[in-house]
């Protein structure tokens, strides 16, 4: 394992120190328990928005803390859910008296840890509501299972509900918007290569020189299907079909699209993939109202990408366009 780190067990903390040093105007980092809050937290009279999850997905979530997006993020160890004490501290730190929304990616660990934190906060009189994002169409959805993984849609939802909270919406409205994102958003990912968790020291899985893993999660979990390498056009075709047919997205729908790099994919390829996706969308009459192309929710150094599609109503688009000032997304300010 070659990594630009010191000791595996210090990666998260030292990286947080670097974030603090780089973005002291936007965020404030606390340690033991680790959490990141926007520099001006708590904002009185505003709903707080808190997310969190394993580290290794940067810029998500810490890079999305700041005006117009998250009030706080709780980074766990690499690919491991954070713990209730982090979420409890973060929730208290951003509580502006209007309640706090927990945006949770649907992993058993994340869900249970956020649940415990919410119980602790509620016991202290903070109004906490949790919305779970589960958008990965690679996972079969059924009543009997845990449901789908939460992946790329989380980024879009964080932007939209962050703007909602910023304009003064109450907790119910912010939570409703989060649920609307969940109801209207779908994603799917694929990988050319695996990634190596620092503490594990070797790749999570192995892929042959001409193999790809389609339907992969963001932790190097095996995907839906291993297949032979294909052209960008074919791969985008397979993935967008899975995403589009699931909701389904229909001709005339206005959407926000994210073509997201898994961490090790060159930007030149991400634009090429976006170009392929545009052709697919055009063929189906789906309108791309807004888009993100880049690394937003990553799996360390994994090569690959994901497609996220969100059917957005005019209010969502307005919230999307609202000013945002974070390390990872910035406009209007």
């Amino acid at each position: 394992m070659k990594k630009l780190i010191n000791k595996p067990e210090d990666v998260v903390r030292e990286s947080l120190e670097g974030m603090q040093a780089a973005h002291g105007d936007i965020i404030k980092v606390f340690y033991e328990p680790h959490y990141i809050v926007r520099a001006d937290a708590p904002v009185q009279g505003k709903v707080g928005v808190v997310s969190g999850g394993g580290s290794g997905h940067e810029p998500m979530h810490g890079g999305f803390v700041g005006r117009g997006m998250l009030d706080a993020a709780c980074p766990g160890d690499v690919f491991t859910s954070p713990t209730p004490d982090q979420m409890e501290a973060a929730t208290k730190a951003v509580d502006g008296g209007k309640g706090v929304l927990h945006l949770v990616k649907n992993y058993t660990g994340d869900v249970m840890n956020f649940e415990m934190a919410a119980e602790l906060c509620q016991a202290e009189g903070i109004d906490v509501e949790a919305v779970v994002i589960e958008d990965d169409v690679a996972v079969k959805d059924s009543l009997y299972t845990t449901g789908r993984r939460g992946v790329g849609l989380t980024v879009l939802a964080e932007k939209i509900i962050g703007a909602s909270a910023e304009r003064g919406d109450d907790l119910k409205k912010v939570a409703d918007l989060a649920r609307a994102c969940q109801a209207n958003g779908r994603s799917m990912g694929m990988a050319l290569t695996s990634c190596t968790v620092p503490a594990a020291g070797k790749p999570t899985f192995e892929l042959g020189v001409d193999e790809i893993e389609v339907g992969i999660g963001i932790h190097g979990e095996p995907g839906r299907e291993r297949m032979k390498m294909k052209s960008a056009k074919e791969i985008v075709g397979i993935m967008s079909e899975a995403v589009i047919s699931d909701l389904p997205f229909k001709s005339g729908d206005e959407t926000i699209v994210m073509i997201n790099g898994m961490g090790g994919t060159p930007l030149i390829e991400l634009y090429l993939l976006y170009n392929e996706f545009v052709k697919v969308a055009q063929g189906k009459g789906i309108k791309i109202a807004r888009r993100l192309v880049g690394n937003y929710i990553t799996s360390l150094e994994m090569e690959g990408f994901s497609i996220t599609l969100l059917k957005a109503d005019p209010d969502m688009l307005k919230l999307w366009d609202a000013p945002v000032h974070t390390a990872g997304l910035r406009w209007g300010v």
Partner: protein
């Protein structure tokens, strides 16, 4: 009789056990999860051993409470809240006690397992640690009259069978459930760490 100091010995033993089995559990988790279960358990119980070293627990309830808080804060993932809840409920059951007979120990374990089920909402054959816990509790109930040693031995055996029985299952809870059919033919890591936990108990609490 289980005493506070035998519980401490159990917890120290768990630190050794999860350190030794770190790669094994992580490997199981890499097949159907995210390759961290061994890392999580080893990190958690190293901290438990530290905490107990620093401040000797006053009674069995206090010991379990320390374990619970430590696991909740340091393990993360699914197993953190699950084992954390296990020891939390156990600590409530054994609050203030410095000795437990077979029935007392069984009550502690059963309260813990109820907590795990309430927290994780897994049922039998969902391919989780519950597949080791529930048969173990059943077996121990049947053997509680034979005393601590035989009771734990029966629990370990049932847990081992339950753990092995997870192999052919399709997972319906936890990360492995995302794999659908591909989760078949792999042993569940959490059921394995549960079996190890009971095995360590029978080695330290039976004497």
């Amino acid at each position: 009789m289980v005493t506070t100091s035998s519980v401490v010995a159990w917890l120290q033993k768990l630190n050794d056990v999860y350190t030794e089995n770190k790669s094994y559990l992580t490997e199981l988790d890499s097949a159907i999860g995210d390759a961290d279960h061994g890392i999580n358990m080893a990190r958690g119980f190293a901290k438990v051993a530290e905490a107990i070293e620093q401040q000797a627990p006053e009674d069995i309830g206090a010991a379990c409470k320390t374990v619970s808080m430590t696991l909740i804060k340091t393990v993360g993932g699914a197993s953190g809240p699950l084992y954390g809840t296990f020891f939390l409920k156990g600590s409530m059951q054994a609050a203030g006690k410095t000795e437990l007979d077979a029935k007392g120990l069984l009550d502690l374990l059963e309260a813990g397992v109820d907590g795990v089920v309430a927290r994780g909402k897994a049922e039998l054959e969902d391919k989780t640690m519950v597949d080791a816990w529930l048969p173990a509790i059943e077996a121990m109930k049947a053997a509680v009259d034979q005393g601590i040693g035989p009771m734990l031995a029966a629990g370990v055996e049932a847990a081992e069978n339950g753990m092995k029985a997870t192999i052919p299952l399709v997972a319906r809870k936890g990360r492995a459930s995302y794999l659908g059919e591909r989760s078949k033919d792999h042993q569940d890591p959490g059921a394995t760490s549960t079996h190890l936990m009971l095995k360590a108990a029978s080695e330290t609490l039976a004497g």
